[in-house]
């Protein structure tokens, strides 16, 4: 076996040194009746070339040359080449949690920089080293709010990513945390009247997403005021990190729970991604996850260590702030490198391109279908309502190797024939025009002739 660095003679010599005759004696502690006397029924040992072929074949079955308008919590942005060059260095790739600070300063300093940039971008005072993803970060942030306030109930915006809501429901089930859902107004934002009614003296926190699942930017300041005047905390979930380049961060929030996948992490069919929790300094001791802090060594030299570990499971066991141990360090490094590449100016310009593409696309779609929530600011997603079921339109688009917007019937049946479209800097004008053409054609085919003028200049 090519990964094993021993010759048969080495094994013999080692067994002899131990004083054993055969390797079977090493497994004598396992009761004989349970020992496996046959080969595992798994694929035979394959050559490296065969393994590569196997996965290339799977990639082809996956439809590798499609362009897509999908977003909804997983975004296709350009990944600078140096991300993979750097994270492929074995010293990053094949190290573990930096328990031994003297020989882990590379990982520790990089996490410290990551925490710093996450604070800068979110407007919070402290950020952790990472959580599994945006959905679990949101659930953990809510549990943190429950600990901080000593209250138990939670008000969640219906415009929070539906799968994040599902994850929160799972986490909350056995914590005795009643969840109530605040609906979405006609402007695509949380219905503030409903929100106000749902908050009680038992509400630990309000959880909203901004930009929300529909791409609409919430009025965070107004929501914060409603929550905080009732003694509840505000948790803001951010699923599209690139928005932070141009959208005011939720500075009024008490906790920010983020998904940083947009920052240089491949779509990878949904993971691994990179969650982050950021908050105010005064709440840090209730924060879950690893934290890196700056300190000095015996000679007074600056260095970095894992710190405030008394919050964590390996010290506190059943009284820990969370059971999280392994998190997403390598993915956080991707995110860190991405943030460093784009930096102060690039992130803004990148976000601006997303905004421009989306403004163009929404304008074009509006000529044929109905673009919902147009009165509110949005980032790079929008909802288009059509006469025909978007799944039917998408099936036609798929024939042209384009994946249309995400049909919303499964998550939001009340929106009718609606789909969530996303444009990033990777979306080209011709892609947009082609997709708009299909929507236009669909509208023409289902509407009586002459009812609605169709813009002729829209290219097919």
């Amino acid at each position: 076996m090519r990964y094993l660095p021993k010759s048969p003679a080495d094994r013999e010599a080692m067994l002899k040194a131990i004083g054993l005759r055969s390797v079977d004696e090493l497994f004598a502690p396992i009761p004989a009746e349970y020992r496996l006397a046959r080969d595992l029924k798994i694929p035979r040992q394959m050559a490296e070339s065969e393994i590569v072929d196997f996965f290339r074949q799977r990639a082809r079955e996956n439809g590798e040359d499609y362009t897509s308008f999908l977003g909804a919590g997983a975004y296709f942005h350009y990944r600078p080449v140096i991300i993979d060059s750097l994270i492929s260095r074995g010293e990053f790739l094949t190290a573990y949690t930096p328990y031994q600070a003297e020989i882990s300063q590379g990982t520790l300093q990089s996490i410290f920089e990551f925490q710093t940039m996450m604070c800068e971008l979110t407007g919070m005072e402290v950020a952790n080293a990472s959580m599994y993803d945006g959905s679990t970060a949101a659930a953990e942030a809510v549990m943190m709010a429950v600990r901080l306030t000593g209250r138990r109930s939670v008000v969640v915006a219906r415009s929070l990513h539906p799968e994040y809501r599902e994850v929160l429901a799972t986490y909350a089930t056995h914590q005795g945390m009643p969840l109530s859902i605040a609906g979405c107004g006609d402007d695509g934002r949380v219905n503030s009247k409903e929100l106000e009614q749902l908050i009680t003296a038992e509400t630990a926190c309000v959880l909203v997403q901004s930009p929300n699942f529909f791409g609409t930017i919430e009025d965070v300041a107004a929501i914060a005021e409603i929550a905080q005047k009732n003694g509840a905390l505000l948790v803001v979930s951010i699923a599209e990190a690139v928005s932070l380049g141009i959208v005011e961060p939720p500075r009024q929030a008490d906790i920010v729970a983020m998904e940083a996948q947009s920052f240089g992490v491949p779509l990878g069919f949904g993971g691994p991604y990179c969650g982050v929790i950021a908050t105010r300094e005064k709440y840090v001791r209730q924060m879950p996850g690893r934290l890196v802090g700056q300190t000095v060594d015996k000679q007074g030299k600056r260095g970095f260590v894992l710190t405030l570990a008394t919050r964590e499971q390996h010290i506190r066991r059943e009284r820990a702030t969370s059971n999280i141990c392994t998190n997403q360090a390598l993915i956080a490094l991707m995110v860190n490198i991405f943030m460093t590449v784009y930096g102060k100016v690039g992130l803004k310009e990148l976000a601006k391109q997303n905004l421009a593409k989306t403004a163009y696309a929404a304008g074009q779609f509006a000529k044929h279908g109905k673009v919902l929530f147009s009165g509110s600011p949005r980032f790079n997603e929008f909802v288009v309502q059509t006469s025909e079921d978007p799944r039917v339109i998408n099936a036609r688009l798929l024939g042209h190797k384009i994946v249309g917007g995400l049909p919303l019937k499964k998550f939001y049946p009340e929106l009718g024939n609606a789909a969530l479209w996303c444009c990033t800097e990777m979306t080209t004008r011709s892609m947009i025009d082609t997709a708009v053409g299909f929507v236009a054609e669909s509208e023409r085919s289902v509407r009586p002739a002459g009812e609605e003028p169709v813009e002729e200049e829209v290219a097919r």
Binding site: Y3, L4, P5, L15, Y34, L36, L40, I42, Q45, R58, A59, N62, G63, E64, G73, A74, I82, L86, S88, E91, L93, A95, Y96, P98, Y99, E102, G106, S110, F112, L121, V126, Y132, D133, T136, H161, Y164, G268, F269, G270, G271, P272, V284, T295, D297, T307, L308, N323, I324, C325, T326, N327, A329, L333, V345, G346, K348, A356, A359, Y360, R429
Partner: protein
């Protein structure tokens, strides 16, 4: 310092500040293509939601970023540099073909919501890996959704709870041996179960008499690590399972130490009802400085209705798809389908090994641990003489007489060119040295390790201060952790 090690030599490495300290206005490492749609007026689009400033985000060039992170990387120890015997973490070789196939276009760029019609490749990968893991564990079904081991524990206990609930009584507590990982009790608390400690006997195994006494209708499950954190196989496993089952309880296995068992014995065959695996331990996906992990949960048939939704199924037309309508499901534990990129790597590892390679891997892992045990025994105190599987736990009892503790020995090991073992865990061994070499070490590397351990033991006798002041060869010496925790500095701020 009295010792020169044949393994390591000091060499120059570069100093490097924080990235913010290199930043200055006007430097850039990015370039966007020209916009092919009309420019927009941002303030008109966003109004008061427009962000004006990105604060202290850095501005640096590409070469500076390359040098920055390359320099940082050289300050890390890693498996690629040498033996990393961090017990319980299974720091084995991370094959590079895993990385190559995870980056194949069409796998790396697949969107989780793309139609199933054009996701058959990804779904086939999930199915193939699932089948392999079911066969390896001897279980009946599996979910790959959990993002790490502790997340798998939570998922497993949620299913345990749902199972008991379906029988009319969710029960109240989880039994956890005193040798268990901290994640076990922390997880039980997240699922709102009380934790009851279970004593180990003089062999370091579950005390059967205590188990019998503590087992009753309030116990939902026993969370057992097997081999346990002493590296000892629970020889009475059949009795343990019987006691649990006779009282309607379930046996949960923490699969952190599965590297001792693959291809040799299957948990499903010795009575386990639910278990998690760590793909980043047993199945070679990279540890990455602390993740990403992946924590699949394998279960027996009786727990299948409670699997997190969605569940992968073969549809009537033969294609693969997800089934979302699972009325008894515990719900979702993560958005999308889990850490898919880790599934790709784990499957590539299984394919590279095959049944014969996996068995040989397990045999070598156990052989290596026992070789170290034989080499170091006598020099360090072995608190439990019970046979070791894939790891061995010593204590610092002999060295403590000179006031040298496990952490000091660990720090000194750094000077010898090794990553330290796990210190001070499991908690049932005061001053533990928990050593897990994995199968990835050659006889030469193991011999160097044994030699280093003996040399350090000799130093403790002759010149304990050298060990107490270690490490001597690193960029920085021991850091002031107390100060770090008392007045936390968790981010960089510009000098005022």
């Amino acid at each position: 310092m009295r010792h020169t090690t044949p393994k390591a030599t000091r060499h120059v490495n570069q100093n490097e500040g924080l990235i913010f300290e290199k930043s200055s206005a006007g430097k850039a490492a990015w370039k966007l293509p020209p916009l092919d749609v009309p420019e927009i007026d941002v303030s008109k689009q966003l109004g008061s939601s427009q962000r004006k400033d990105l604060g202290n985000m850095p501005e640096v060039s590409e070469i500076e970023i390359i040098r920055h992170f390359t320099r940082l990387s050289t300050w890390n120890y890693a498996i690629d540099l040498g033996m990393y015997p961090l017990g319980s973490c299974t720091m084995k070789y991370n094959p590079r073909v895993n990385e190559a196939v995870a980056r194949v276009e069409g796998i790396a760029n697949a969107h989780p919501y793309q139609p199933e019609k054009i996701s058959q490749g990804a779904l086939r990968i999930i199915k193939t890996l699932s089948e392999c893991l079911i066969e390896i564990t001897g279980m009946d079904a599996i979910t790959l959704q959990p993002a790490a081991g502790a997340h798998g524990e939570m998922t497993g206990l949620l299913m345990v709870r749902a199972y008991h609930q379906s029988k009319g009584n969710a029960r109240k507590k989880i039994l956890i041996p005193d040798s268990a990982h901290g994640t076990n009790p922390a997880t039980a608390a997240m699922v709102n179960y009380a934790v009851e400690n279970l004593k180990s006997d003089s062999r370091g195994m579950v005390d059967i008499v205590s188990l019998e006494a503590q087992m009753n209708e309030d116990v939902a499950a026993l969370m057992l690590t097997n081999p346990n954190t002493l590296g000892v196989f629970e020889q009475d496993i059949h009795k343990i399972a019987d006691i649990l089952h006779a009282n309607g309880g379930l046996l949960y296995m923490d699969g952190a130490n599965m590297n001792a068992l693959v291809g040799k014995v299957r948990p499903g065959d010795f009575g386990v009802d639910v278990m998690h695996l760590n793909l980043h331990k047993t199945f070679s996906t990279p540890h990455g400085g602390g993740g990403p992990g992946s924590g699949p949960v394998a279960i027996k048939k009786s727990l299948e209705p409670f699997l997190p939704a969605p569940v992968l199924v073969t549809k009537s037309d033969g294609t693969l798809g997800f089934e979302y309508n699972r009325p008894q499901s515990v719900g979702r534990v993560r958005a999308f389908f889990g850490n898919f990129g880790m599934f790709v790597r784990a499957l590539a590892y299984i394919q590279a090994n095959g049944p014969d390679g996996l068995r040989q891997t397990t045999e070598d892992a156990v052989l290596n641990a026992n070789y170290i045990r034989k080499g170091v025994e006598g020099t360090f105190d072995l608190p439990y003489a019970t046979p070791s599987m894939h790891e061995v736990v010593f204590s610092d009892k002999l060295q403590a007489k000179k006031s040298v503790r496990t952490m000091d020995i660990a720090k000194r090991l750094i000077d010898y060119g090794f990553h330290p073992y796990t210190t001070a865990f499991p908690l049932i061994v005061p001053g533990a040295l928990m050593i897990e070499p994995t199968e990835s070490e050659s006889k030469e590397e193991l011999d160097l390790f044994v030699e280093a351990m003996k040399s350090i033991a000799a130093e403790v006798e002759e010149d304990p201060q050298t060990v107490l002041d270690a490490p001597h060869s690193t960029r920085i010496s021991r850091l002031d952790e107390t100060a770090a925790a008392r007045k936390p500095v968790l981010r960089w701020k510009p000098a005022v």
